[in-house]
Amino acid sequence: MTERLGEFLASWRPRFALIPCPYADTVPRFQNPLASPILPMDALPDHMRPERSFQGFILALQRFWAEQGCVILQPYDMEMGAGTFHPATTLRALGPKRWNAAYVQPSRRPKDGRYGENPNRMQHYYQFQVIMKPSPPNLQDLYLKSLAAIGIDSSVHDIRFVEDDWESPTLGAWGLGWECWCDGMEVSQFTYFQQVAGVECAPVAGELTYGLERLAMYVQGVDRVYDLNFNGREGADKVTYGDVFLQAEQEYSRHNFEYADTAMLFEQFRMAEDACKKYLAAGWKEGGNQKEHLMALPAYDQCIKASHVFNLLDARGVISVTERQSYIMRVRELAKACGEAWVHTEAGRAV
């Protein structure tokens, strides 16, 4: 997860969660995965098998992690650079409460658009994200079982855990872990969060991020992402990834690089930043013995917004090198303040 400069913000992991706090009795409990049966793939109809369809592939992962006691969330309804931005990861990584969740998150990296011409680079793609807090002792085994569940057999594939630390000093956030390699290809990232928003993670959460298209391409044996079979059907019924997304890639690349309204975006950045600060300031409630915050989630939405707007401006090439750093710092300040607020909410604070 070593960040390249150009992807700095896009790959930046936000720290504060926006997911509404579940009622206490719905908080997922970690269950012994060995006691859970693995999805019997043979029972699936062909078109639903993970090696036949993109959607079957996602469903297999969701099913697997559901079996491990994760809540299966839906994508967050905002544009973001990586699944880590989802409040279910950033914010939920903070605080002592148990949290096990998995979800697909569309990830937007405006600069990575290639007008649909590159076989595996896109400005919009999917990540599958798993977060387990505290990290279970057998998280590596669970990960390997999840690969088996999507058809990657460890007796013929070479699966490796290669050092890859994630660190963002400007965010006061870091974690240690690996890139997971399958036959020389990086297919996932595996991180034990140590610190988020300058706050020590206690307990530590384990985070897994799967690059869905890349893995599905490997499992389906296609070299071009747009050739992925999306629905597992053949002939006239077959829908490819390109049928669904190629036009979008072309249109958004044009938008991101050429036409995105920069005046509007600069204004949106400013508005999001102001709104975030305003909601944070208004959210503090003094009462009882401890400070309490009542609007961490709406404030964090604005932080996500600011981050994405910055990525768009960056893709448009209208931010200079020096300004760039200052924009990054501004987003970081927001994120830190949101984290501070989050640990004073019901879901984020100590019991």
Partner: protein, 731 residues
């Protein structure tokens, strides 16, 4: 005697940390054993991606008993002293102490303290958990349920189990019982993650290593590396190819696998149109695979060798094809980058440098390139380079930083510049300078030899040094973020190894002038001229907002020259030469031609190895010491020529004559830069100095004679300064 087996089994340890961790484990455990009085016969540590293991053999079963006599207060001494003594020695009553009689000092209490040795296994149970808790990983982490509380164990990655057994070879060993953060020691480990994941019970190192091997784990990293290299060579050989050996990569790969299996894959021949270095960087850095070369052409072949961690049930077919896919995609990107780069001329990339800040206070890359260009042009005639070529080379040397390939593989900077310059038909020397001007990059790197490259390399390094010096960003202690020490050492090595003589002061002044010119319309020549006036020069610097030594031009230059002197000393020390002689030469002042300095140091060193040299040094030091004492006593110096009329003794006259002769001979030799001759002249001084000290009493009762003799001593010191400041020489 019994052996210890220790294994720390964890999730995957970063390859780059394994060797040091194994070494740290061995060192920490054995140091602690020795500190506990347990001397062992041997120890060896191992690392795999998932475990650190240590065997220490021949440790005594128990510590030996300690007997100690401690002397106490005198019999009948104050009660407080006696109580303190009882407390310190653990005696219950003073009657338990012996009384020792000392004929002179009276009777004393003596406590006999016996400390029985402990069983080694108990000592181990005490020291091992401390070592584990304080293990010096470069980066460590917390995990799991326990990380909710403070004080939980930190390890490089989650630690799962610990084996610790202790016992003699012939018997069932005991488990050294302790627990760290809830992990209890035992005798169980696990085999290969995929091929033999079951638990294994072990007793001691011998069966541990053998059982691991049976469970598809090669414990010894060196053995894994050997397997990788041998198998890789064999695979290459079978195809009539040579492995491009890469020890660093082999070490890394050995740290990524517990059971190495080398496999060969291939890629499309069309990718061989990419420069070999780019192919290698792509395959090596991104995929950790080896490349192979065709011995007939010396060029890379379209094959690569990967190291898998398993014996796949299909013989590796799927693994090879997976790796081929990735490498194909990577090479396809690299080829695209390379071909895209070739479409743009290097100079047309330059305007972009105007947007790229080199350093906030030093302006843009474009400004920097302009300065280097001008400085290289000024230096060119001094190093025998064509001025126009040097300018052109400096103009293009950094352009490849903006190419796609260098963006992807920064380590190919310079090299790609050379290829692109060649492709656009630049002069060979100009193209070569793109690569060569970065050299030398380290002690093992070669220095540039082509004069054009030498000029640009010097200009590049001097510009960097001067720039950071003027904004007061000098290296401090271990901090040298801009690699200024390396730059200075580069300058030194180029000048010395290329035998180039030039005045550093002049070049530093030029470079300072170029930095001062920033953004102004002033002409370079005018500024250089103005800088000759120290006040105006310092004024320029002040305008740059520099502080400390930078606020005055002469001080800045002095400071930089002394930085070079320090680097030169380090360099000479590393070569085993006498670095104190560097001080002795620099201390003369005005020494800014490094090649001359080194020649002088060399001659001086040889001279000091002779008897004449040693004695002259001793004599000079003696003269200096006497002078120092007397100057302090009289609170004055003894400068000025001695009065010939006051010489009373033959030895005085002889010395005065010798000094005159040596001064003129050595001076003439130094003028001709014949330092060896200067030293031989110096040798003539020795007998006169020896005789003088032998026969003459310096501090004569007659004050005038005394003063005159001290002045003569001062003359010795002055005469030797023709070659060096002898007071700076050690010994």
């Amino acid at each position: 005697m019994p052996d210890l087996l220790l294994e720390l089994f964890s999730e995957e340890i970063p390859a780059r940390m394994q060797a040091k961790a194994a070494d740290d484990l061995r060192r920490m455990v054995t140091d602690k054993l020795v500190a506990e009085g347990l001397v062992y016969e041997g120890a060896k540590a191992f690392a795999t991606p998932r475990r650190l293991a240590l065997t220490v053999h021949g440790i005594p079963q128990r510590q030996s008993d300690l007997k100690e006599e401690r002397r106490g207060p005198r019999v009948g001494g104050p009660d407080a002293a006696i109580q303190g003594f009882l407390k310190a020695t653990g005696l219950a009553r003073i009657e338990d102490a012996k009384i020792q009689t000392d004929p002179k000092k009276g009777d004393f209490y003596i406590a006999l303290i016996e400390k029985p040795g402990r069983a080694t296994i108990d000592v181990l149970a005490e020291i091992l958990p401390v070592i584990i808790r304080t293990f010096p990983w470069p980066k460590s982490m917390r995990w799991g349920e326990r990380s909710a509380k403070s004080g939980s164990l930190s390890w490089v990655r989650p630690l799962h189990s610990i084996i610790a057994t202790f016992g003699p070879e012939t018997e069932e060993p005991d488990v050294v019982k302790f627990a760290v953060d809830g992990i209890e020691t035992g005798q169980t480990t696990f085999g290969h993650r995929f091929m033999a994941p079951a638990a294994i019970s072990v007793r001691r190192f011998e069966d541990y290593e053998a059982k691991l091997k049976a469970a598809k784990v090669v414990l010894d990293p060196q053995a894994r590396k050997d397997i990788i290299l041998e198998d890789a060579k064999e695979l290459a050989f079978a195809q009539g190819l040579d492995l491009v050996e890469d020890q660093v990569l082999a070490d890394e790969v050995a740290g990524l696998v517990e059971w190495p299996v080398a496999l060969m894959g291939s890629f499309e021949k069309e990718y061989l149109s990419i420069p070999d270095e780019v192919i290698r960087a792509t395959i090596r850095n991104n995929q950790k695979c080896f490349v192979v070369r065709d011995p007939k052409t010396g060029k890379l072949a379209n094959k690569f060798i990967l190291t898998a961690n398993i014996e796949a049930t299909d013989g590796g077919k799927v693994i090879i094809s997976g790796n081929e896919r990735v490498i194909r995609a990577r090479l396809s990107d690299a080829k695209f980058f390379y071909e895209t780069d070739l479409k743009t001329k290097l100079e047309s990339r330059l305007p972009k440098f105007e947007q790229i800040v080199f350093h906030e206070k030093l302006g843009t890359q474009a400004e920097r390139i302009k300065r280097i260009e001008r400085l290289a042009a000024e230096i060119a005639p001094l190093v025998g380079a064509d001025v126009e070529k040097a300018k052109r080379a400096a103009h293009l040397a950094k352009a490849d930083l903006l190419t796609e390939v260098v963006g992807e593989f920064p380590e190919l900077q310079g090299l790609m510049g050379k290829y692109y310059a060649q492709a656009q038909g630049e002069d060979a020397s100009v193209a070569a300078a793109s690569e060569e001007h970065y050299k030398p990059q380290g002690p093992a790197d070669r220095v540039p030899t082509d004069p054009v490259s030498v000029a640009v390399a010097l200009a590049d390094k001097i510009d960097t040094l001067v720039g950071f010096w003027t904004i007061d960003e000098k290296p401090t202690g271990s901090k040298d973020p801009y690699a200024l020490r390396r730059a200075a050492l580069g300058v030194i090595r180029i000048l010395l190894e290329q035998g180039r003589r030039l005045s550093l002061t002049t070049i530093l002044e030029w470079s300072i002038a170029l930095h001062i010119m920033r953004g102004s319309e002033a002409r370079f020549e005018n500024i250089v001229e103005a800088m000759r006036d120290p006040t105006r020069g310092s004024d320029f610097l002040r305008k740059r907002g520099t502080t400390s030594s930078g606020d005055q031009l002469p001080a800045l230059i002095r400071d930089m020259i002394s930085f070079f002197a320090d680097r030169l000393k380090v360099q000479l020390r590393d070569q085993g030469a006498r670095h104190d002689l560097v001080d002795a030469v620099f201390s003369l002042g005005g020494q800014d031609d490094l090649l001359q300095v080194v020649r002088r140091v060399d001659a001086l060193g040889k001279f000091l190895d002779t008897d004449d040299g040693k004695n002259l040094l001793a004599g000079t030091k003696r003269a200096s010491n006497i002078l120092a004492i007397e100057e302090k006593k009289d609170k004055r110096t003894f400068d000025g020529a001695p009065d010939v009329g006051l010489y009373a003794l033959l030895e005085e006259k002889a010395l005065a004559k010798a000094i005159d002769q040596v001064k003129s001979e050595a001076g003439a030799a130094v003028q001709k830069e014949d330092f060896a001759a200067a030293m031989s002249a110096m040798a003539k001084l020795r007998p006169a100095v020896d005789a003088f000290f032998d026969k003459v009493k310096v501090n004569d009762d007659e004050p005038k004679v005394r003063e005159n003799r001290l002045k003569l001593l001062n003359e010795i010191r002055a005469a030797t300064r023709a070659v060096a400041d002898f007071s700076k020489i050690e010994g």
